[in-house]
């Protein structure tokens, strides 16, 4: 017997796995280089989403889970800190994903530049044409 929240989280994870499969299909089997770049961005985003789902924490007793930023530091009530540690999500995957997004941007820019050079040399961005040219 699963609760309704776990059912919705299952739907979310299933959709992310389907997205990952579709993006892998686009990277492997589409011959166009620009389509490969688009599929690669979707692949990176989906992988980052998996890292965030690992760090997510479900709601405890009807209280919403909260971002890992403690904003009530002015008050001296220790109960607020206890509630924060009970309900905040894990900040470590978010810190890793933050780096991964920026590195993905750099890799995508490099691939775009390589595709532009391939167009200037071969006048084609299709992998079948480039392979036939033997150069």
């Amino acid at each position: 017997m699963i609760t309704l929240s776990e059912y919705f989280m299952t739907i979310l994870i299933t959709c992310m796995i389907v997205n990952l499969g579709l993006a892998l299909y686009g990277v492997f089997f589409k011959p166009n280089l620009i389509k490969k770049i688009i599929a690669l961005t979707i692949l990176g985003d989906t992988a980052n989403t998996f890292a965030l789902i690992i760090g997510y924490r479900m709601w405890v007793a009807g209280v919403p889970s909260r971002p890992p930023v403690f904003t009530e530091w002015r008050s001296n009530n220790p109960l607020l800190l206890f509630v924060f540690t009970k309900t905040a999500v894990d900040p470590l995957p978010q810190a890793l994903v933050l780096t991964a997004i920026v590195i993905g941007l750099a890799v995508t820019l490099f691939l775009v530049f390589l595709t532009l050079q391939a167009w200037k040399i071969y006048r084609s961005v299709d992998m079948r044409d480039i392979r036939r040219l033997k150069g």
Binding site: P31, Q94, G104, D126
Partner: protein, 87 residues
């Protein structure tokens, strides 16, 4: 379990289903400019999912990169190369 928790997680699951549809159409589309715009739809929905997963600092980086810079760079690339994908 309250009404709010199930409802908000249901919105997140619905957004995930629409992101799957957008990804499928972006991969299968022949026109590359339409594929880029489907990718932008998928990025917007992912930004909403990140918000619901309580990661606002990820969103502050993800929205300029995935909604702003990726379509700009790929549209500039399509402008310099071809728009139609050969069957």
């Amino acid at each position: 379990m309250s009404y709010g928790e199930a409802f908000l997680l249901g919105i997140t699951a619905l957004a995930a289903i629409f992101s799957t549809i957008a990804t499928y159409m972006a991969i299968m589309e022949r026109d590359l400019l339409k594929a880029v715009i489907f990718s932008a739809i998928q990025s917007t929905i992912y930004a909403f999912i990140y918000y619901m997963l309580m990661a606002p600092d990820i969103d502050l980086v993800y929205i300029p990169v995935a909604v702003g810079l990726y379509p700009a760079v790929i549209i500039a690339l399509i402008k310099k190369t071809t728009r139609e994908e050969k069957p």
